[in-house]
Point group: C2
Chain length 145, copies 2
DNA sequence: TATTACTTAATAATCTTTATAAATAGTGTA
DNA sequence: TACACTATTTATAAAGATTATTAAGTAATA
C-alpha cells in the first residue's frame, strides 16, 4: 500500500538526479506515513531520535526538493507555519476552526470553476485549491459539555 | 460608490465602540481604495508619507481590530505574509504563479461542497475558501518574449 | 585515486508578527 | 474647564519561521 507509493517516490527522486540520503529518506518516509500534514518543525522533532545531529535546515532543504519535483504540496493556512502534504492525488481539506485538525476530503475536481476563471480573468490556469472550515466532531462534543 | 462603503465601515466601527483615529482611518481608507489585497507592510509603506511616525505595530493593531469586527478578511497564501481584503462580499481569488497578482473572481457559492463535506467528515461546516492559480495575462506576454 | 557536484550541519541572518511598556490622546463626568 | 479613565500609538524588544552562508562530509564519476 504505502510501500508502493514510497518506491514510486524514490524512483522519481532517482530519475530526477536527486541522491537518496538517510535523512532525505527519513523525511520522505515520515511524510508518507503521517496522515496529519505535519509542519517542518514537527518533522524535525519526530526525527530527532533517529538523527540527533540533523539540522532544521536539512528538513527545509529536503522539503524544498520534494516540492520542486512535485512529490509534496505546501499548504499555508493562517497558523504561521506551512504544512506539507504528500498525498498528490486530487483532494481537498476540511479544517477544524478550534483545534486545527486537517481531514482529507475527496470531491470531483471543479473543472468548470477553472474554465470559468480562465474566461473571466484571461489567466492561464494551472490548478486550484479549496479548504472547508468548520468544527470537528471532537470539538463539537467538547463544546456541549 | 466606495464612499458609501467607507461610511458604512465607519458606522460599524463606531457602533462597536472603536475610536476612529487618524491612523486607523487612513489604514481603513487605504484598504478600501486598494484593489490589490495589500500586506501589512505595503500598507505601512504607503502611509509613511502621511504619518512619518507611525509604527508597524499600529498597522497590525488596526488590522486586527478590523478583522475582529469583520470589516476585512485575512488571506494567507504561500508568500510568507498575510494579505488583507476588505471586500466582504462572497468571492474567490485567482492568483498569478509568477508575479503574485490577485484578482477577484465571482462564482456562485459552492454550497453542495460544504454539504457533502459535512456528511463525509461529520464537521459542522462554517465556510470555505478557494483559490485558482495560473499565469496572468501580463506574465504570459513576458514569457513569450 | 582525484575531481567534481551534491548534501549536511551549524550558525547567522532575515522577515513577519506579536508582546511590552511608556507616552499620548480621546471621552465622559463632576 | 479640569480631572480621571481608557483606548491608542509609538518605540522597542522578542518570538517564531524560514532562508542564506559556509565549512565539512559524502557519494558519483572519470
Amino acid at each position: 500500500m504505502s510501500e508502493e507509493r514510497m518506491q514510486k517516490a524514490l524512483a522519481t527522486l532517482k530519475s530526477s538526479g536527486v541522491r537518496i540520503t538517510p535523512q532525505r529518506h527519513a523525511v520522505l518516509e515520515y511524510l508518507m506515513h503521517s496522515m496529519n500534514h505535519p509542519t517542518a518543525d514537527e518533522i524535525y522533532k519526530a526525527l530527532e531520535g533517529k538523527f540527533p545531529n540533523m539540522s532544521v535546515a536539512t528538513v527545509y532543504n529536503n522539503l524544498r526538493v520534494f516540492l520542486d519535483i512535485g512529490l509534496v504540496r505546501e499548504l499555508t493556512y493562517g497558523d504561521s507555519s506551512s504544512r506539507f502534504d504528500c498525498n498528490t492525488t486530487e483532494h481537498y481539506h476540511v479544517i477544524c476552526n478550534s483545534c486545527g485538525k486537517i481531514v482529507d476530503f475527496h470531491y470531483p475536481a471543479l473543472d468548470e470553476v477553472e474554465q470559468l476563471a480562465e474566461q473571466v480573468t484571461g489567466f492561464n490556469v494551472s490548478h486550484h485549491r479549496m479548504e472547508v472550515y468548520g468544527t470537528c466532531t471532537d470539538c463539537q462534543e467538547n463544546k456541549s459539555h
